[in-house]
Amino acid sequence: MNRKHTALRGWLVQRVSAIYMFLFIVFFLTHFVVDPPQHYAEWHAWITSAAMSIATAAFFAALLAHAWVGLRDVLMDYVHATIARVALLGLVGFGLTTAGVWVVRILWTRHG
């Protein structure tokens, strides 16, 4: 898929990330309904387990990728002036990257 296919790639990213987020949310909620953690330590152990850490990180990666494609599309639709568009895309990219770094910090910082 070369540069010409960026639109197709964006469309695919949005579809695949949406499916993953849907499945993750269903799994997450089902866990809380079927086997809810009884206290904080149990919840903490569950969410910081290796599998859940990876799954949660993948969820936020999907969310950020989904948001990036969506916001990029909105800006391409409405903002036609190149300078304004590049500036806004930069702002969105910066905001999402910051959110991503924050997520990583939260997920990989061990609290007692």
């Binding site: 639109a7 197709l8 964006g10 639709d77």
Partner: protein, 246 residues
């Protein structure tokens, strides 16, 4: 019955305005076009509109009726809410009153090469197709190019010069799935840039307003699936019942 009709004569009017007309319906007045023509003949012969076949085949009398695009000739007039507001197709440049300039619309339509491309030797009679292959064209060849869909599509409003629009993309699909066409990959490649196809946000106004019950949004989805080589099922596109304009 009261009508409020968009009027604009660029040679005379500084800006457009809505003009009210009152007319008593006759038993013979069934469709909206019947009444518009009687208004023109009895009250103001300068009222300008396009029309031809008067039975939903030519697509020339597409206008905006109470906020929704449709063909005046197949819209039952007695079902409309009063005052009936008639405007030209949204976002198309107005030539005069209800007549719009379709140049940009046809330019996008022509850009998808709306004809069979096949360089193989011409057969003695015709290029044959199996009944199954012919079925794949159902739901896409029936388009009458009235522009109801494209004019009601927000993606076309935002980027009318770059986004092909639902009518053009429905026709692109019609030739992509045609078994007699030999440039399918070129047709797909032509639509992969960020604007020509991928501005579609699946808002589905196009499907909602198509007076022929076609589904351009489904065709667009199938083109995307063709691009990633995902099977989208056999057969043509299903027609749907057109919701009445109120």
């Amino acid at each position: 019955m009261r009508f409020s009709i968009f009027r604009y004569n660029p040679e005379r009017d500084e800006k457009p305005y809505m003009q009210a007309f009152d007319i008593e319906l006759k038993p013979t007045d069934r469709m909206l076009l019947d009444v518009i023509l009687r208004i023109r003949d009895s009250q103001d012969d300068s009222l300008t509109l396009r029309k031809s076949c008067r039975e939903g085949v030519c697509g020339s009398d597409a206008i905006n009726i109470n906020g929704r695009n449709g063909l005046a000739c197949v819209t039952p007039v007695r079902e409309l809410k009063e005052p009936v507001e008639l405007r030209p197709l949204p976002t198309f440049p107005v030539v005069r009153d209800l007549v719009v300039d379709m140049t940009r619309f046809y330019k996008q339509y022509h850009s998808i090469k709306p004809y069979l491309v096949n360089d193989e030797a011409v057969p003695e009679k015709e290029r044959l197709q199996s009944p199954e292959d012919r079925d794949k064209l159902d739901g896409s060849y029936e388009c009458i190019l009235c522009a109801c869909c494209t004019s009601q599509c927000p993606s076309s409003w935002w980027n009318p010069d770059k986004f092909v629009g639902p009518a053009g993309l429905l026709q692109a699909y019609r030739f992509i799935v045609d078994s007699r066409d030999r440039v399918t990959q070129e047709r797909l490649d032509d639509l992969t840039d960020p604007y020509r196809l991928f501005r579609c946000r699946t808002i589905m106004n196009c499907t909602e307003v198509c007076p022929k019950g076609l589904s351009p949004s489904r065709a667009i989805e199938r083109i995307r699936l063709e691009m990633v080589k995902v099977d989208h099922g056999e057969g043509g596109l299903a027609l749907h019942r057109v919701p009445p304009i109120r």
